[in-house]
């Protein structure tokens, strides 16, 4: 038990404090409190030492996160737009459309973008950013269930009278909602382009509103003129959503460029 507890600490820590720490553990009987205390302190040592090591590499790590996040935002925006537009046009009822996989890949890329581009915002709005990450993370998992469900059971109910398509749409809704929260946090912190954040926020809010109307049936029939208006709004929202993500990704990559050149 004692050697296991000591091995829980990072090697650098063990090199410095290992002998004297072991001496203390030899002198003192260990209870559950001590074990919990040591395990928590070992986690702290890992985080603490990583912080020290990371200090010199901080800039490099941040630039890498901007590069990955920026690229993922651009890729996600393109895939999400292509996937959603194509799957709306493709009316075939033969299980999951291949475009759904496009959309799923786009959703996953946007999730990666959210992680890579949220370091500034998380300092000022940690709860908002965690929610902005958790909601689309859940949405990606739900989308995945929906896509698999469409391939396996088609239009039949999958979970609690919801068809795989409805489950899939629910996942998309979560991704768009998370994007709206991220856009608000980005706009407030001015971490990246405010125009891009505003564009993303506008597109996300329009899409959220349309999806809420569609899912809840608040407006009974979206037909005739109302249907045209909804379609136009949907397309405009989708374009703004994709353009917002692409612009945020672009500004992140441009932020990264001068420092990389100087290095």
């Amino acid at each position: 038990m004692k050697s296991f507890l000591i091995r829980c600490y990072p090697s650098r820590w063990r090199d410095r404090y290992g002998d004297e720490f072991e001496a203390i553990l030899d002198e003192r009987p260990l209870g559950p409190f001590d074990v919990a205390d040591i395990l928590l302190a070992a986690i702290d040592a890992h985080l603490h030492l990583r912080g020290i090591d990371a200090a010199s590499n901080h800039t490099r790590g941040f630039m890498m996160s901007l590069r990955i996040g920026g690229s993922a935002a651009i890729l996600g925006g393109v895939l999400f737009l292509a996937g959603l537009v194509a799957s709306s046009i493709d009316q075939s009822d033969e299980g999951a459309s291949p475009w759904a996989a496009f959309l799923f890949a786009g959703t996953a890329a946007l999730l990666l973008a959210l992680i890579g581009l949220s370091s500034f915002q998380a300092r000022r709005h940690p709860r908002l950013i965690w929610t902005a990450f958790a909601v689309p993370a859940l949405g990606t998992a739900v989308s995945c269930i929906g896509i698999v469900g469409m391939a396996v059971v088609g239009d039949r109910s999958l979970i609690a009278d919801f068809s795989p398509w409805e489950i899939w749409i629910f996942g998309i809704f979560a991704t768009v909602l998370g994007s709206a929260l991220f856009a608000v946090a980005t706009y407030q912190t001015r971490a990246l382009s405010r125009r891009a954040a505003a564009l993303l926020a506008t597109g996300s809010i329009v899409l959220v509103a349309i999806l809420v109307v569609g899912m809840t049936g608040i407006v009974p029939a979206v037909v005739g003129d109302a249907g045209v208006v909804t379609s136009v709004l949907m397309l405009a929202g989708l374009l703004a959503f994709a353009a917002g993500w692409i612009a945020l990704g672009w500004t992140a990559l441009r932020l990264e460029r001068p420092t990389a050149a100087a290095a």
Binding site: Y17, A23, I24, A36, D37, A41
Partner: protein
């Protein structure tokens, strides 16, 4: 004063207790734990002790001495002593104000 104990996060209180324990002379880890436990009536885990000691050492408030067997004593540095005095004066003022207020509000 560069380092402030509140910067130590959840290890601020254990760090203060360790500094107080070392204020009457060098001690090794186990002796610090016993001293703190006798002084406060509360146990201090070995994990907490070394997490706090590492921070105190990193900020130059305590320094390690040559180990005897596997036991390594630590002592307060001059900066550590100044910091401790400052912290204790602050706490003393706070305690006196609290006691005064308590006296005023009592019937």
């Amino acid at each position: 004063m560069e380092a402030k104990l509140p910067e130590f996060g959840r290890f601020a209180e254990p760090s203060l207790l360790i500094l107080v324990s070392l204020s009457d002379g060098p001690k090794h880890g186990y002796a610090i734990m016993q001293d703190v436990e006798q002084g406060t009536g509360r146990p201090m885990g070995a994990g907490t002790l070394y997490a706090a000691l590492a921070r105190l050492e990193e900020r130059g408030l305590v320094e390690p001495l040559t180990p005897v067997d596997r036991r390594r004593p630590y002592r307060l540095t001059a900066v550590g002593a100044t910091m401790l005095a400052e912290q204790l004066r602050g706490l003393s003022k706070f305690a006196q104000r609290g006691l005064r207020q308590l006296g005023e509000t009592r019937p």
